[in-house]
Symmetry: C2
Subunit: 255 residues, 2 copies
């Protein structure tokens, strides 16, 4: 396919590379920042542009991969070209695009992307939604050229997936940070904890989290929990988090 990328952030970068590697032609990369557009465009052999008026209608698909707040104005600008437009957001509804075009869809990769960290895109779940069946099929076929994990997911489900991702990714990463800060305060090396983090995630690759829950709250070990709260007496924020999550784990065992 001939594809135009709107945006040059983490998602646009990884998705653009995956599409390029799968043999698609990236026609143009648009980004408000000319330098970002140029950098990504160089990597995926596309034409960069920072000017909306330079965007050519000579493409098969526009992929909008920008901040949620900017999707609306991009869709408004691109609709004149009368080509299919998809966005890559977990939180934005299909409706945002349908205001401007019937040829609307979603191409949501459920993964956390970082600059300078490669990802094996064939394992990234792609959640597809199309405004009509032919477009859905076309988007699924495109998705399958870059991923083995393609699903049809409607806007309501996608919002739940996105919310679940916050619980399964953003919040755990914050807790890694909290742990790392505790260690640093006592001159302990974060490396001591890294194998535990890796194993905790690996455990749920083939099991349900409820089946592998461990720790003092699971055992109802009040003595250890009291000792932990005592260690956190100068960390009111962490103490509150400790209490709330321990209570939730205790409830989980009671169900």
């Amino acid at each position: 396919m001939r594809i135009t990328l709107i945006g040059s952030g983490n998602v646009a970068t990884h998705l653009g590379a995956a599409l390029k590697n799968a043999g698609h032609q990236i026609v143009q990369v648009y980004s408000r920042g000319a330098q970002n557009a140029a950098l990504l465009a160089y990597h995926i052999k596309a034409e960069p542009t920072a000017d909306l008026w330079q965007i050519t209608p000579d493409t098969d698909l526009f992929i909008i991969s920008v901040n949620d707040d900017a999707i609306d104005s991009m869709a408004a600008a691109l609709a004149v070209h009368q080509k299919p437009i998809v966005h890559t957001s977990g939180a934005a509804a299909l409706q945002v695009l349908l205001k401007y075009t019937d040829q609307a869809g979603v191409f949501y990769p459920l993964q956390t992307f970082s600059k300078n960290k490669e990802i094996y895109f064939r394992k990234v779940p792609l959640c597809i939604e199309g405004a009509y069946e032919d477009l859905t099929i076309e988007l699924i076929q495109l998705a399958q050229t870059i991923s083995n994990k393609v699903s049809i997911v409607n806007s309501d489900q996608r919002k739940i997936l996105h919310l679940s991702g916050v619980f399964a990714c953003n919040f755990p990463n914050y807790l890694y940070h909290a742990a790392q800060q505790l260690l640093a305060q006592h001159n302990l090396d974060f490396n001591l904890l890294r194998p535990l983090i890796a194993e905790t995630a690996q455990k749920v690759e083939h099991r349900m989290p409820a089946d592998v829950q461990t720790g003092p709250a699971t055992r109802g070990d009040e003595k250890t929990m009291a000792a932990h709260l005592n260690l956190l007496q100068n960390e009111p924020d962490l103490k509150e988090i400790y209490v709330l999550l321990s209570q939730a784990i205790i409830k989980m065992g009671q169900r």
Copy 2:
């Protein structure tokens, strides 16, 4: 070495297997439950016993790997044999053993162990403490026969490590569970989320968590956070967790 294992839970099982595989002789396995003792003893070619009076002094080291509350009474019973005694607990102080014997130490594996899930023990950090230098050295040498990650860690530091482990392992696993429950309520497959969990943990293998934090709270994306809280309106516990952790992430960005 000739080693006697006290306990037959997850830690005793994985540690016993690692020691056996490294060429040590496991003399006896003691467990209050005769069946548990027999099962583990069979696997590591030791003599099982459920009777404290059957424990032989003909050993080089007692490893107590039982619930924290039971360490004290085990140490009291074993001290008569006048052999070194270590426990494997992250939360219990060395002091618990020193009440009964000078030959006291700690052999704490900082990892989460599950029944029926193999672990590559050479990557498990072992935190060692000895009551005197010769014992510390002896324990370090023993630890190095089964792990490449051996550190000397005193009781205060070990308590911090244990607490950090709750933040880095037990709490994230609970959040995986919360995410899985949200998906299940909307007939969505947990498999959709598993690559995200794996990638989130992998990211911090070589980076600091603060450097790879993503999500709406990091971006200060109030609109998405409000939409998420709206989706959680029938889940007061998850809503409270969402607010508290999002606030913590926002604070983290401000530092």
